[in-house]
C-alpha cells in the first residue's frame, strides 16, 4: 500500500523509467512507495540504498524500503496482505504466485511483460512468472545449480582434477568412494542435505527428476512414488547408509551447512549455487582459504540431467493505490546496468538477456557453468500448497535417510498423505 504524503502524483511528470515507458503522475507533493524484499545482505545493501535514493531523486517519490529474512518472508507478506497493509511492490518466489493469486493479492502485469519491456527476458524466464495465462510478476532473480568439487582432494585421491569424470550419478559415486577410501583425503567426500528444512527437497529433486520421476502429474496431482522415484531416493540414501561417502549425520545438515563445509575446504563435492564459487573466490583473495575447486554440471541419471531453477519475481500487490508508481519503480530497477550490478554483487543468474551475454558472465570460471546449466533448468511445480507438499517430501527423505522406512515405503506413505491433502 502506498502511504500518501501528499494528495496525488509526483515526480517530474515524465516518469521516464529505464525505457521511456514510465507513467509519471503529475503533481507536486511527494508520494511514498513501499518496496519489500527478502534476504538483503551486506553484499547488496549498498546497491539498494544507492538505487532507492536515485529513484527518489528522479521521480520525487519516497521509497520505503524493507528487507526481511527468507525465514520470515512468507509470513510477513501474508500478514501484511491479510491485514490490508500489503506493500506496493515485493519480491516473491514465483512458485508462491498461485497462493497469492488465490487470495486476489497480486496485480497482473501483462501490460509490462507483453510490451517492449518484456522483450528483455528470455522466453523461459518470462514464462516463469506466468500463472493461469497471466504474468503476475517480473522476473527479478534466477538461480540454478552445478556440482562443485574440491580439486585438491581429487588430486590427493589420485583422481584427475582437470578431468574429474563426473558426468553421471554413478561417476559421482565412484569419485566419492575413491575420496573416502584414500588415506590422503581427510574430508568427507560428498555433502548430503537431510535436515528438516525446505532446501532438503531442493537438493534431492535433482536425483528425483533425473531418474524419470516427477512430483505432480499434468492435473497437479502427486506422483511421488513411481519406480524412478524409488530408485532416486534409494540412491540418495545409499550414499549415506550403504556407501558412507557423506558427511556425518546428513539429518543434521541443511543445504547451508554442506555449502559452508565445502567453502571451508572441508568437503569433496557439493551441489551448489553460483555464490558458493563467488564466496570461495573472495575467501581466496582474502587469504582465508587455500584450495582449488572446479565446477561441472549436476550429474545425469537414467532419464537425463536437471538443474533446479528458481525464479523470484517482483510483483505489484492489488492493494496498492499507486500502481503506476510501482510500475515506474520496476522499470527503474530493470535498467540494464542496474541488473548487471545486481547479478554481479548478489550472485544470481542474470534474468535480463543482454546482461547474461556480457563477457563478465559468459567467460567467468564461476559463472560459465551456470550459464551453460540453463539448458538443464527445471522449476518446481507451481502449487498453491507447495510448501506443505515439500514438507511432506522432506519427511519422506528423512524417514529413508534415518533408515526408519524403506524408500518405497517412505514414498508410498508420502503419496498417500499428499493425495489426502490435495483432494
Amino acid at each position: 500500500m502506498i502511504a500518501i504524503a501528499g494528495c496525488t502524483g509526483g515526480g517530474d511528470g515524465s516518469g521516464s523509467g529505464s525505457d521511456g515507458e514510465g507513467s509519471g503522475e503529475g503533481g507536486g507533493d511527494t508520494q511514498s512507495v513501499q518496496l519489500l524484499t527478502m534476504g538483503v545482505g551486506d553484499n547488496i545493501k549498498q546497491f539498494f540504498e544507492e538505487n532507492n535514493a536515485a529513484f527518489e531523486s528522479e521521480y520525487d517519490v519516497d521509497v520505503e524500503f524493507t528487507s526481511v529474512t527468507w525465514d520470515n518472508a512468507r509470513q510477513t507478506v501474508n500478514n501484511r496482505v491479510d491485514g490490508g497493509q500489503a506493500p506496493d511492490v515485493s519480491r516473491w518466489p514465483a512458485r508462491w504466485i498461485p497462493q497469492l493469486v488465490g487470495k486476489d493479492a497480486l496485480e497482473p502485469v501483462d501490460d509490462l511483460m507483453d510490451g517492449k519491456f518484456g522483450e528483455k527476458f528470455a522466453e523461459g524466464v518470462a514464462n516463469g512468472t506466468m500463472y493461469n495465462g497471466s504474468h503476475y510478476g517480473v522476473p527479478w532473480a534466477a538461480s540454478n545449480k552445478c556440482l562443485y568439487y574440491n580439486k585438491d582432494a581429487f588430486e590427493a585421491a589420485g583422481l584427475d582434477p582437470e578431468n574429474p569424470a563426473l558426468d553421471t550419478w554413478e561417476d559421482m559415486l565412484s569419485a566419492a568412494k575413491a575420496l573416502t577410501e584414500s588415506d590422503e583425503v581427510s574430508v568427507p567426500a560428498l555433502g548430503l542435505a537431510g535436515a528438516d528444512a525446505i532446501e532438503t527437497g531442493s537438493q534431492y529433486y535433482h536425483y528425483h527428476w533425473s531418474h524419470g520421476a516427477d512430483l505432480v502429474d499434468d492435473e497437479g496431482m502427486p506422483v511421488v512414488n513411481s519406480d524412478g522415484a524409488v530408485e532416486a531416493l534409494s540412491f540418495y540414501t545409499d550414499l549415506h547408509l550403504e556407501h558412507g561417502v557423506t558427511q556425518s549425520s546428513p539429518l543434521s545438515s541443511t543445504r547451508q551447512d554442506i555449502r559452508q563445509l565445502f567453502e571451508n575446504g572441508d568437503l569433496g563435492m557439493v551441489i551448489g549455487h553460483v555464490y558458493t564459487g563467488l564466496n570461495i573466490t573472495e575467501s581466496q583473495e582474502n587469504g582465508e582459504v587455500d584450495f582449488d575447486y572446479g565446477i561441472v554440471q549436476v550429474p545425469k541419471g537414467p532419464a537425463g540431467r536437471y538443474s533446479l531453477f528458481t525464479i523470484d519475481t517482483l510483483g505489484i500487490f492489488s492493494q496498492s493505490e499507486h500502481k503506476d508508481v510501482a510500475r515506474d519503480l520496476i522499470r527503474f530497477y530493470f535498467d540494464e546496468e542496474r541488473r548487471f550490478q545486481y547479478s554481479k554483487q548478489k550472485g544470481f543468474l542474470p534474468v535480463v538477456e543482454a546482461v547474461g551475454e556480457r563477457e563478465y558472465f559468459s567467460e567467468s570460471k564461476n559463472w560459465g557453468p551456470f550459464v551453460e546449466a540453463g539448458q538443464y533448468a527445471r522449476a518446481r511445480p507451481k502449487l498453491s500448497n507447495f510448501s506443505q507438499f515439500n514438507d511432506r517430501m522432506v519427511q519422506a527423505i528423512q524417514e529413508a535417510l534415518a533408515d526408519q522406512k524403506s524408500p518405497q515405503k517412505a514414498l508410498n506413505d508420502a503419496q498417500s498423505d499428499l493425495e489426502d491433502a490435495m483432494n
Binding site: 528438516d196 539429518l251 510448501s387 528423512q398 526408519q404
Partner: protein, 312 residues
Amino acid sequence: MSLAEEHTQTGGDSRLSQSAAHVKRNRRAYLLIAPAALFLVAVVGYPILETFRLSLYRSPADSTIETFVGLQHYVDILNSDIFYRLLWQTGRWVAVGVAGKTLLGLLIAVHLKGDIRGRKFFRTAFLIPWGIPYAISAVVFRWIEHPQFGYLNAILLKLGVIEQGIGILGNPDIAWLGVVVADIWIGTPFMAIIFLAGLQSIPQDLYEAAAIDGAERWHQFRYITLPQLKSVILMATLLSTIWTFVSFDTIWTMTGGGPISTTATLVIHIYQVGLQNGHLGLGAAYSVIGFLLLLLFAIVYLRVYTRGGEEL
C-alpha cells in the same frame, strides 16, 4: 405452582434481588473495575472465543472463504495417529523439562542460600540464561550440538571419545533430548530464584531446633525445607508446566520440529498446520484441545495439591 416451585421461584427472586442490591450498593466499585474487566474480555476472552469459532470452520489461510464444518476437525484430530504421537511427545517434553528445571533449580537455590564464597556473584550469574532471549539461546545450543561445527563434538573428538561428529539434533531418537537440555538451561534460573526466595522465608529456628534434636541435613531438607516450600514448588512447577507446554521458540529455532517431526509438540504442530500450511480451522481446533488439556491439568494439579483443605 407447587410449593417446591414456589420456593424455587421465591428463592430465585430473592437471589436476584440480593444480587441487584449488592451491585447497587457497590456500584462505584464495579464502575472502577469495569475498564479492567472490559480489557480482559477484549484481550483474553475474545481471542479464545474467536479461536473456538474458527475451529468450527474449514478456513484456508489463502482465502477469505469459510465453510462451517461443526466439530469435524475435532473428530478428525481425535481419530488421527498424529494427535496421540503429539500428546506423547508433548508430555515427554514437558515432564522431562519441568522435572529438570525443578530439580536443578532446587539444587542451585539450596546451595545459593548457604554461606558460600562469591554468593552474590553466583546469584547474578545464574540469572543470565533467563535474561537471554530464548531464540538466541536456542541458536547457541544448536551450534554447540552441530556435528561439524559444534563445540560438543569438537571436544569429544579431541578427547577421542568419538570418531566422527554426532548429529544429536538430526537423530530421530535423541533429538528431543538435545532440545530439552537447552530448555532446562534456559528455564532453570527462574526456578532457582523462586525457590531461593521461598527458602529465605523459612524460619531459621526450625533448622536450629532440628539440629539440636540431631537431625541430619538430608532429614532437615526432607522434613523442613520441602514441606515449607510446598506452596512455592506448586506454583513454580505449575507456571513452568504451562510455559514449557506452550514453548515454541526453543524447539522451532533448534529443529523446526524435526527430524521426522520427532521434536514437534502440540504447539509446533499448531503453527505448522495453521500458519505454515494454511489450515486455520484445523490449527484452531488443535489450539482449543491444547487449551483444554492445560486447563484440565491445572485444575487437577491444584486439587491434588490442595487436598485436605490446605490453601496456597
